[in-house]
C-alpha cells in the first residue's frame, strides 16, 4: 500500500458516494480523505447531507454507488455492528445511551467489540471471562478518570445532566479503542465554556490517544479552532475542502451559509 507515494495512504477514504431517498439525491458524489492523526470538520447548512454521510460511514445507510475505504479496505460489505471491530467508532447527535444502566456499564458496553465471550462462559463466570472482565474494567476505569466521570460512575445514566451524558458517550466510543472516531454534533446543547472544554478534549483524544477524528458540527467556532481540514457540504454536494482559513474565505461557502445571488 505504502509503495511509492510520498504521503501515507488515507485512513479513511470516501469515494464518489451517492445516496438517494426516492427521487431526492441526498449525497451527490461526495469524495474526501482523512489521514491518520487528522481532525476533519464536516460542516454544512441544515439538510446538506452531513448526517446522511455520517450514517453511511457507520453503515446504517448503504450508498447507491461509490465506496468507503478504511485502511484501504472497503467497509460497504460490513454490517453496522461490525464497524467497531473495523476501527470506526461513533457518538450520536441526541445522545443514545443505555438509560437504565450505570455510567460504568454504558462504557463497558463500549468495550463489547474489543472483547469476546459467550452465554455459557458468562453464565458460569469461567476464569478466562473473569480475567477479561478485569482487563475491561481497567480500560473503563481509565476512561472514567480521563473524562472526569468518577463522581457519577455508578449512577444510572437516566437523569444525569446533558453535558455529562455527552462525556459518557465519548467514553463509551473510546472504550472500543477506535482508529477513527465519528462525532455527530458533539457541541449541540453545550454552553460556551463546555464547548471550549470539548475542543480541548477532542484535541487530546487525537494527540494523547492517537485517534483520528471526523467531526460533524454546526458550531463554527469549534470546527474552525480544532480542525486540520474542513469539508463543506451543501445540498448533497461538496462545495469546498481545505484548511479552516481557506474554507472561511471561500465565496461558495459564504454564499451557502448567508445566501448568495441566485445563479
Amino acid at each position: 500500500m505504502q509503495a511509492n507515494t510520498t504521503s501515507a495512504p488515507p485512513q479513511l477514504a470516501v469515494h464518489d458516494v451517492i445516496v438517494r431517498f426516492g427521487g431526492i439525491v441526498a449525497l451527490d458524489g461526495i469524495a474526501f480523505e482523512l489521514h491518520k492523526g487528522q481532525i476533519l470538520g464536516l460542516i454544512g447548512p441544515n439538510g446538506a447531507g452531513k448526517t446522511t454521510l455520517f450514517n453511511c460511514l457507520s453503515r446504517l445507510y448503504t450508498p447507491a454507488s461509490g465506496d468507503i475505504l478504511y485502511d484501504g479496505t472497503s467497509v460497504l460489505s460490513k454490517r453496522p455492528h461490525e464497524m467497531p471491530a473495523v476501527g470506526i467508532g461513533r457518538s450520536f447527535q441526541n445522545v443514545a445511551l443505555f438509560q437504565r444502566m450505570t455510567v460504568r456499564d454504558n462504557i463497558r458496553v463500549g468495550a463489547h467489540a474489543a472483547s469476546r465471550s459467550d452465554f455459557f462462559s458468562d453464565a458460569l463466570h469461567l476464569p478466562w471471562v473473569r480475567r477479561q472482565e478485569a482487563e475491561v474494567d481497567a480500560t473503563v476505569s481509565e476512561l472514567i478518570d480521563y473524562l472526569d466521570l468518577g463522581d457519577v460512575a455508578d449512577l444510572p445514566v437516566d437523569g444525569l445532566p446533558f453535558g455529562t451524558r455527552k462525556r459518557v458517550e465519548i467514553a463509551r466510543a473510546l472504550a472500543a479503542k477506535p482508529g477513527v472516531l465519528l462525532l455527530d454534533e458533539p457541541a449541540g446543547g453545550l454552553n460556551h465554556d463546555e464547548v471550549g472544554e470539548l475542543g480541548r478534549l477532542i484535541r487530546s483524544i487525537r494527540d494523547d490517544r492517537g485517534v483520528t477524528v471526523l467531526l460533524v458540527e454546526h458550531h463554527m467556532g469549534l470546527v474552525m479552532s480544532i480542525s486540520d481540514k474542513v469539508v463543506v457540504l451543501s445540498f448533497g454536494r461538496k462545495i469546498a475542502e481545505g484548511t479552516p482559513a481557506e474554507v472561511q474565505q471561500n465565496p461558495d461557502v459564504i454564499a451557502a451559509y448567508l445566501g448568495g445571488p441566485a445563479e
Binding site: H81, F98, A113, F119, L155, P161, G163, L190
Partner: protein
Amino acid sequence: MSVNTTTTDGSQAATGSAGSVKAVSLPKPAAASSNAKIMRTAGIVLLIMGLAAPFMAGNFLIFQLTMMLIYGIAILGLNILTGINGQFSLGHGAFYAVGAYTAAIMMDQFGVGYLWTLPVAGIICFIVGFLFGLPALRLEGVYLALATFALAVVTPQLFKLSPFEHWTSGVMGIVISKPEAPFGLPLNPDQWLYFLTLAIGLLAYVCARNLVASRTGRALMAIRDNPIAAGSMGVNTALFKSLAFGVSALYTGVAGALGAIVVQYISPDSFTFTLSVALVVGLVVGGVGWLPGALFGGAFIMFVPNIAEELSKGLSGAVYGAIMILMMYAIPTGLGGLLKAALTALSKRSKTR
C-alpha cells in the same frame, strides 16, 4: 442562529451538573454497601428457611413449595427475556409444555432416568426458543406479544394431534411414577424432589446473576435500552435477541420438565394459555428486571389463587383478579420496585440523621 438557543439550554444543564452530581453521589458508597448487606442477609435467611421447610411442613405443602420454586425458575427465564432483554412473551407456557413433554416422553417411552430428562428438556427448549426468536426479531412490543400468544395457544393443540399420539397419548396424557430419593437418603419422595428443585433453582439463579453481570448481560440490557446504539457498539442485536429467547426458553423448559416429574401427570390441558399468563403475572408481581423477584412471583401464582378460592369458592377467579388489581395499584413496579424504594428511603433517612 441555532447556537444562541442551545447556549441557554446548555448553561442550565451545566449548572445542574455541578450541583446535582455531588448531591447524588456523596451518600452512594455507604448506601450501596449497606443495601448489599441487607440483601445478602435476607438471602441467607430465605435459604435457611428453604432448607428447613420440608422438615416442618406436610407433604402437600412441600409439593406446593416445590411448584413455587418451579414457577420461580420459569419466571426467572421469562425475566431474562423481558426484564433484561426487553422482549415481551405471552407464550412461555409453550416452552414449559415442551419441557414437560420432553421429560414425560423420555421417561415413559424410552425409560430414561428422570435426572437425564432435565438437561435434554433444557437443550430442546433452547433450540425451539432460539428458532422462534429468529422470526420474532421482526416483531416488537404488542406485535411480539401477539405472536407469542399464538405460540401459547397452538402448542397444547399440537400435543393432541394424532400423528404424535404414539408418544404423547393425545388428550389422555402421560402418567409418570414418582422418583425415590437416591443413595438411601432419609427423605421421602416429596422432600427429595423439593431439595432437587431447590438445588436446580439455586444453580439457575446463580447462572442468571452471572449472566446479567457479564459482557453478555450488558449487551442484552443495551439492546433493551437502545438497540441502534447497541449495534453501533458492536453488539450483534439479532443474534443476542435470538439467544436470549433460547436461554429464556431453556430455563422455562427445565422448569416444565421438573413440573412434569413433580406433578406425575401431564396432558395438553395442563398447559393452557392460562399458564403463560400466570408466568407473566408472576414476573410483574416479582418485579420486571429484578432476578430474585422470580421467587416471589412463583409464590404469588402458586398460593394466591388458593387463597382466593378459600375466600370465596364461587368467585375465586374474581377475587384473584381483585387481588391482582390491588397489587398493581399498590406496587406498580412489583416487589422489586417496592424493595428498591424502601431501601432508598432507608438510606436517605440514615443520611439525614
